[in-house]
């Protein structure tokens, strides 16, 4: 007996509906990709950068509406450009601390509001970008998410050791000759890609949580960096799939369901940590 039977929910197979198959396919990729990239941002105390990029993506979506181009495409371009811009300001110390993030965060949301107003697009469709939707994922979205998602994961796999070296100590990495600036820009660009790809499912306002919460959860139960990364991706995947199922049966915005599920997993992991059941190391 499945959980839906227990709860007295509709028995129709969730996979019968094409929109759910598309949502699952797209969600599975972003559920793995977002924490894989967020992993390195969290290690470097840059957890909130996903939020900043999300607000720039909002401006990208609005621009898409205004000029009549796919909002996913314009959001992708805006996210990557914004993420690289934040990294450039941060690395060149043109803005102190989190000021670079604040600058892009507020400019992004302001530009988005202005462009949306100009496009007269303040409607329900816009809210699907803000909070995610399981109804709006298209076959084209799945192909784009699949292609860029797999490419992003492959790049993370190739650059893994270098990204770890920079996360451990940026200055030592720089002194030893590692191309730190190029790695940082690449990671920022990947974060922009992850935000743009995830916004259909999770929503612009909650995408940063999918990049951060699974990583925080995994860090509490893992015994090594590699196991923490793999666990982050597994937790992200489970959170997205569970959130989509909950969203389907209870008619909820998927972004909220996914992030709340991820938050519950974090609470459980914290409990495990408090009880001393983790990281016994060697």
């Amino acid at each position: 007996m499945c959980m839906a039977d227990v709860l007295g929910l509709p028995l129709a197979s969730i996979l019968d509906a094409e929109f759910m198959r598309l949502a699952f396919a797209s969600g599975a990729v972003v559920g793995v990709l977002a924490p894989a990239i967020g992993f390195f941002l969290v290690q470097r105390q840059m957890s909130l950068i996903g939020d900043g990029i999300g607000h720039i993506a909002f401006a990208g979506v609005a621009l898409g509406y205004l000029i009549g181009v796919s909002p996913v495409l314009t959001a992708l371009i805006a996210s990557v450009a914004g993420a690289v811009g934040i990294e450039q300001l941060r690395s060149r110390r043109r803005a102190v601390g989190d000021q670079a993030l604040a600058l892009f965060f507020y400019t992004g949301i302001a530009a988005g509001v202005v462009l949306i107003s100009a496009a007269n697009a303040l409607n329900a469709t816009l809210f699907t970008f803000l909070f995610g939707s399981i109804l709006t994922v298209t076959r084209g979205d799945v192909i784009l998410v699949g292609a860029l998602g797999i490419a992003g994961l492959a790049l993370i796999a190739v650059l893994y050791q270098g990204l770890v070296a920079v996360a451990v100590d940026e200055e030592s990495a720089r002194v030893s000759g590692i191309p730190v600036s190029r790695l940082n820009v690449t990671l920022a660009g990947l974060a922009g890609v992850a935000v743009a790809l995830s916004m259909r499912i999770v929503g612009i306002l909650l995408i940063a949580a999918l990049m951060v919460l699974p990583v925080m959860t995994a860090s509490r139960i893992a015994r090594s960096l590699a196991s923490a990364l793999v666990s982050s991706m597994a937790i992200g995947l489970v959170s997205v799939l569970a959130g989509l199922v909950i969203s389907y049966y209870f008619d909820l915005a998927p972004g909220g369901a996914i992030v709340l599920f991820a938050a519950i997993l974090f609470c459980l992991a914290s409990l495990v940590e408090m009880l001393g059941l983790r990281r016994d190391g060697g």
Partner: protein, 236 residues
Amino acid sequence: MRVVELNDVSFAYEGGPPVLSGVDMSIDRGEFVAIAGPNGGGKTTLVRLIVGLERPGAGEVLLGGSPDQPRRLPIGYLPQRADARLDAPITVTELVLAGRVPVRGVLAPLRAADRRAAAEAIERVGLTELRDRPITRLSGGQRQRAFIAKALAGEPELLVLDEPTAGVDADAQEALAALLDGLRRDLGVTVLYVSHEFGAIEPYVERLLLIRGGIVFDGKPSELPSSWHDPSHVHG
């Protein structure tokens, strides 16, 4: 072979007074050099100039005979309070493998030779039994040795340690001193050791540089004037 050479180097942080003026010095391959001086005297700035984290306002810094550093000379650098401020647990082996990246390049896959080199570096610092342990579960001295193993995995010709004994007990300082001396003798690694106090390391130091806005002493520790034996009280 001359590993480090500074010619008439001066430096000031933006909008600030000069930190270092007219510094001339050189370090040869295999030397064990200590840099001492009072807080604010310019020790750390000198080290940051040598490893390329700061550019001199005047003069030149040559590494391995070239100003195009740090690419020409492999450097292992342990900054003050070396630690991995990561949220996730990183094991000793993972930390040391990250130190192989400068040797094999960021795009090359991890090979068996890299794992062997990492294992050898871990063995040299005496952490083989703890290789799978997260570094957060090591003592201060063990953690410091893990970072030295990471630096060694990069096959450095110059090993630079900035205040490595801060927060480390006397036994760990003894072990560190013996380890650094062994690296110099066995591998020919040039060691540059920065501290405001030396303790156990002093018998191994061949040459001492006292810094106070410039070099105020350059010689064997035994030649240091008795009134200067506490470097933190050096008066230029």
